[in-house]
Structure formats: C-alpha cells, structure tokens
C-alpha cells in the first residue's frame, strides 16, 4: 500500500497517491479497463475510495436507509453537497416505492427524508404530485420490474457521484483537464501563435516568428499612382486594390500564393479610396471621397451599377451577409446612411440632423450591427434588429474602422498614433490600445488578422507595416520595404500567413513568413 504522504515531481508539491489515482481514472475513461485494474492492484491504490464503494453497493442494492445513514456519516461534505446527494437518493427511494404501489411508505419518505432537505421547493412539490399521478413524474402506470430499477439505479448513481466531492470521488476526467489547462495557457501566451491546428504535448508550446508574415514575397506595381486601399476577398482567393490613379484592380491569388492581375476596373473620374467585397465574393463595390459608388462583377470585371450621382458623395460602404443589401455612408451631412439593393433601389435610410458626415462604415459579419464613424470622432454602433444604438466618443480623429471576423470586436485608427479596440456589445469601459506606429496627418488604416483574428496590422507614415498580438500593446513585428507612407493593410482571411500592404510608393507588397535557411537552400538546388 502506498504511503499517502509520498510526493512526486521536482518541486514536491504533488502527492503520489493522488497522481496514481487520477492515472487510474484516466485509463478507465479511455476504455483500458484491464490496464486500470492492473494498476490498481500493482499500486495498491483503488480508484474508488472505500466509502464510495460502500455507498455504491448500498445504492445499487436498494438499501436506501443504509445509504442515507452513510451519507450523514461522511465528514468531507458540506451540508449543501450532502443535501444534494440525499435528495437524489431519497428521490429514487420515493419513486421506487410509488412504482411498487407502496404509497404510504412513499409518503413517509417524502415527508421525513425529502421535505426537510435544503433543496428547491418546486422539486419537492413535484414529487408530491407523483402521489396523485405517476405519469407526471415520468413514470407510466406499468408495474415496474427489478431490471428496470437496476438500470435506472446505475444511471442515477453517476449523478450522485457528481455531487460528492473529492477526496471521496475524483472529478471527472481530471488528468485530461489538468493537461488541457497547461496547454491552453501555453497557447495563450504564445505571441506568434497563428494556426488552428492541435499542438503537440511533447514539448512546451511556443511558436517562432516564422508563423507570421515578416518579409516581402512579392511586389505588385500595376498602379500608376498612390495605392490607397487593399482588401482580400472573404475566400482569400482575390485581392482588390484602389488607387489615386482612379482605378481599382482585382488580383487573383494562385495556388502557390503568387498574385496575378485579373481585372483593371476603370471608369471612376477621381481617386478611388475604398473597396468592399460582397460576402459571397461575386461583387465588388468601389468608391472615393468625391466619387459615386460603383458595383462591379468580379468574374467579368464589368460595372453592373452606379449608385448616386455627382451630387451624392459616398465615402465608404459595407455589405450585409446576404450579399444583396449594401449600405453606404456619405460625407454630405444631408445624405446620411442609405441601404440599397443591388439594383439600386433604396431600402432604408437614416437621415436627419443627427446624421452628420459619415467617414467610415461597417457591418459585422453576422449582420447584427451596423457601425459607422461620424463627425470623425464618434463611433455609432447600431443594433439593426432591435434598432438600439450606442455611441463611443473618441478624443481624436478616427481614420479607419475594422471589424473582427467573429463580429465581437472593432478597431479604429486614430491620428493620435493609437489604435483602439472596443467590443461591439459594450462590456469594455476602456479600450485596448496599440501603439508604436506613426500617424499624424494621413488616413492610415488597420485591420484584424491571423488564424483566430489574434493579430492587428496597420500601415504607418514612416513607410513600415506594424503587427501586434492583440494581447500586447507594443508591436511584435515591424516590416520594412516600402519607401513611402503605407496607407492600408489587409490580412488574408484564409491564408493566415499572407498580408498585403498599399503604399504611396505606388506599389502593393505581399508579405509572407520568413523561410528558414535550410529550406531556402533546398529550394535553390
């Protein structure tokens, strides 16, 4: 028999006896009954404590009074736990009496054993009801045989086990729980963690920076002027970019992650500052600060519709998840926010004095919230279904708005050189902030990215791209390559290691993970 006070582990904080017991439990739960029994006999440690085994045999044998007495004897239980267990035992006692037609004993059990317990009164009254009609307590009017009782008793005893505390019992799946806790904690503190795969428990988990984009893998130079906006399609297979050269370009992402030009969208008269992919990626919206809103077909690259006219200036736009409704915000205070369908019919509009200049607009991917930036400093979050809204007022000018893929968070870039993250539902009283980049004069945009949306990327006026892990307010990577201000970034939603950046230097850079030396050598050979 093991000495209960022997310790294991280098720090000596774990009791050997407990460790073996949870090992035995683990073997049983994995289905290795023979091994489990073998370990029990070899170690002399039993998975079920002797008190527990006694309780079990009393319960399964239907010795209710004995079982109840035993529960009163156990010292390691709180009154609450004891009453919960007593209730389960007494209730089965009561129901079996009823089932056998022994009404007077059942009544006595109800009154003497159950009624006095600290349990929900409604449960007690429901049982009283059972004296009148068995059907209502889940039993039909058949006569019950002992086999049916036996099965029920086994099932119920598992419920009893759950309310009895350690050390009499061991919490379910304890070893798995402990290991998972450690692994989760390691993943949480892994700042470069950028995948949804399982991790190995052979080593302590820690990703290296090769998990995130850190170097230029391609430079796209098709634009003839400053590139102001980039965004990947939702399926990650295309990239759209727009420029002060008055065009937008759709690029295709090939199998090997190289991008090629697919369509050049020409017909705007002025710089195009914003594009938006429809959720089903079949259509693209383009607009500019002094421009109308155009809807393009992605496959053919043709313009399907133009919204508004020279008098109607759309600053930004967003889609609803059904890909049939879009909203746009205008920099003209009188126009407010309009919702259209793809044919140009107006569905709804929010106008009026309370609708000042809108500079940015977004819809959460689940379609529940419409978020807009108005008067340059206020974030208005509208719950579309309930038509309720709340406003967050920032102190500095907001230059971009992005929403996370899980619809729970939003980030805004401020010209005070900070990015603020708020939660959509409104539980955060203070925002989370991210700093390190440069932003004073221009519109610089930021975005979410990575496998779980765990990263934030932003452009910067010092021509670099900045990457943060959401948990840390200082950047984890600063990417150099562009020669002028980086205006906008977009992280590929499906290829988690691909990032695109748009710059005043007229190029778009595609960033990928650093390829390790050995791999690079192998490739060259």
């Amino acid at each position: 028999m093991e000495n209960s006070t022997t310790m294991i582990g280098p720090k000596g904080v774990i009791k050997r006896h407990e460790f073996v017991r949870i090992l035995i439990q683990c073997l049983y739960s994995l289905g290795y009954d023979k091994s489990a029994a073998c370990l029990e006999s070899e170690s002399g440690i039993s998975y079920k404590s002797s008190e527990f085994k006694l309780l079990e045999s009393l319960f399964l044998g239907g010795d209710w009074e004995g079982c109840i007495d035993k529960l009163y004897e156990l010292k390691e239980m709180t009154d609450e736990q004891r009453d919960a267990a007593l209730f389960l035992v007494s209730r089965q006692y009561f129901l079996e009496c009823l089932g056998r037609g022994n009404d007077s004993l059942a009544l006595s059990v109800l009154r003497k054993r159950i009624s006095k317990l600290q349990v929900d009164r409604k449960e007690v009254h429901m049982l009283a009801f059972g004296l009148f009609s068995l059907g209502d307590v889940g039993w039909s009017d058949n006569n019950y045989d002992s086999d049916a009782f036996q099965e029920l008793r086994s099932y119920l005893f598992n419920e009893v086990e759950k309310v009895i505390p350690p050390p009499i019992t061991v919490p379910d799946r304890r070893l798995e729980h402990l290991v998972e806790k450690v692994v989760s904690s390691q993943i949480s503190s892994c700042i470069y963690h950028n995948s949804l795969d399982q991790v190995s428990i052979y080593k302590d988990h820690r990703c290296g920076r090769d998990q995130i984009p850190t170097e230029t893998v391609q430079i796209l130079s098709a634009h003839k002027n400053e590139v102001w906006f980039v965004q990947f399609a939702n399926n990650g297979n295309y990239l759209a970019s727009s420029s002060s050269d008055c065009t937008a370009i759709i690029w295709k992402v090939l199998e090997d992650s190289k991008l090629v030009l697919e369509h050049t969208l020409k017909s705007h008269q002025n710089p195009v500052s914003f594009v938006a992919w429809s959720p089903d990626d079949t259509m693209l919206l383009t607009c500019g600060n002094s421009e109308v809103l155009r809807l393009w077909d992605v496959e053919t690259g043709t313009c399907k519709h133009t919204f508004g006219d020279n008098g109607f200036l759309v600053s930004s736009c967003a889609w609803f998840p059904d890909s049939t409704r879009l909203v746009c915000g205008s920099s003209d205070p009188k126009k407010g926010i309009c919702m259209w369908d793809c044919e140009g019919n107006e569905i709804k509009a929010w106008r009026g004095i309370r609708m000042p200049k809108i500079s940015d607009i977004a819809v959460t991917p689940n379609g529940e919230y419409l978020i807009s930036i108005f008067s340059d400093r206020d974030i208005r979050i509208l719950n579309v279904g309930m038509n309720t809204e709340r406003v967050i007022s920032e102190e500095h000018l907001i230059t971009s708005l992005s929403v996370s893929g899980d619809s729970k968070y939003l980030i805004v870039s401020l010209n005070s050189q900070e990015i603020h993250m708020w939660d959509v539902e409104g539980n955060l009283k203070e925002p989370l902030t991210y700093k390190g980049h440069r932003q004073h004069k221009y519109v610089i945009r930021s975005c979410f990215g990575g496998a779980n949306g765990m990263f934030i990327a932003s452009g910067s006026e010092n021509s670099q791209v900045y990457i943060w892990n959401r948990r840390i307010s200082d950047p984890i990577e600063v990417l150099s390559g562009h020669s002028m201000t980086v205006n906008c970034v977009s992280w590929n939603p499906k290829r988690h290691q691909m990032l695109a950046s748009a710059s005043d230097d007229q190029t778009i850079r595609i960033w990928g993970p650093t390829v390790r030396e050995e791999k690079r050598c192998n490739k060259e050979l």
Partner: protein
C-alpha cells in the same frame, strides 16, 4: 384639499335610501335575525322567498367556512344546479378546501384518494396546474401549517373562497354581487383617490376611510 364638512349638510338623504342600503347589506351577508329585527322596527317589507333563500345561502356559506366543503357543494347544487358547472374556478377552490380539511385532520390516504379522483382532472387545464401543485405540495409536509403554503390553511383564505361563493350564488339569483353599502364605500374611495392623484399633492395621504369617518 379637503372638502369643508359643512357642505355635507347641504345634501338631503332620503330615509328610504338609508333603509335600503342597510337592508341590502344584511341580506348580502345573511344576517337573518338582524334583518327580521329591522323589518319589525321599520315596517319594511321583505318577501318570504327572499328570507328562505337567505337562510339556505347562510347554511352553505357556514359549511364552507367551517371547512365542510362537500356539504356546501351539495347544497349549492341543489339551490343553483348549474352554478358550479359554469364556475370551475369556484368548484376547484371548494374541492381544494375539502382536500386541505382532510390533510389537517391527518387523513392522508383519504386526502390522496380524494385528490386523485377530484382534483387531478383539473390538471389538464394549464391555469389550474400551478394551484394544483401548491395544494399537492402540502402533502410533503408533516406539519402543513409550517410549509411555505400555510396560507392555504388559513381562515382568511377560506373567507376569500366563501366570499366568492356568496357573490356567485347572488349573481345566479339575479341579485347584486356587492351590497349597496360596499359599492358606496368603494366608489367614495376611488373618487377620492382620483382627486388626490389629479391634484398631484404629495402632501395628501392616500384616502383612509377610517380617518375620514373619525374626522366627520
């Protein structure tokens, strides 16, 4: 604001009205002996059938108040055959009075039998389920007086059921459910309350009949 009591003197009251008010009250609450006295003193007329009905009603209510709901039900059915049929709520309340009576006399097996036979059928209708649960729940307690539902055993509760029964029987006989006296007091209270609310004076306490009568 309070009306100057001297203004009351401007209103003349008819003797006949006063007598009728008192009469209707006595009939409503079955005060047979007092009624006969009043009739003798004032020379008012009350028909024999009225008196007979009042006597019957009195017996019914008395049984119910004592807890003898079965006799009360039986007599009610004799006097007003379809009344309880059309008034299931009342029937339920009366049956449950009997149930409670059995429990209090510690006749548990009888109570269970009675409950199974008479009360559980009501359980098919949603609105009775909660009440049914409360009554059934009383069984779980060796001393029902100490249960959370002890109010179901109280005299107040029985009185409440009896009042409902009384009003139902009166209505059935096309007599007023509320006596004139009750109506007058109710009206005065509501009107005073309305006035207070309208004038919006927080300084005015809610209308208290007792205080009002004391003052006058």
């Amino acid at each position: 604001m309070d009306v100057d009591p001297r203004q009351y003197e401007q209103i003349k009251i008819n003797d006949k009205d006063t007598h009728n008010i008192i009469l209707s009250y006595l009939i409503h609450d079955c005060y047979k002996d007092t009624l006969e006295s009043l009739v003798a003193s004032t020379g008012l007329k009350v028909s024999a059938t009225h008196l007979e009905d009042m006597e019957k009603r009195k017996r019914i209510l008395h049984f119910a108040l004592e807890g003898n709901a079965l006799d009360a039900i039986h007599l009610t059915e004799q006097m007003a055959p379809d009344l309880l049929e059309n008034n299931k709520d009342l029937l339920f309340d009366l049956l449950s009075l009997h149930f409670v009576e059995l429990l209090c006399s510690r006749k548990c097996t009888e109570a269970i039998e009675f409950g199974k036979a008479k009360l559980t059928p009501f359980g098919k209708v949603q609105k009775y389920c909660e009440k049914l649960e409360e009554f059934m729940g009383l069984l779980a307690y060796e001393e029902p007086e100490k249960s959370p539902m002890f109010h179901l055993l109280s005299l107040e509760y029985r009185q409440h059921v009896v009042d409902n029964l009384n009003r139902a029987i009166l209505e059935h006989a096309r007599m007023p459910r509320y006596s004139e006296l009750e109506r007058i007091i109710q009206q005065a209270t509501v009107v005073r309350q309305c006035l207070s609310d309208e004038l919006g004076k927080d300084v005015l306490l809610p209308f208290s009949l007792k205080d009002f009568l004391k003052r006058s």
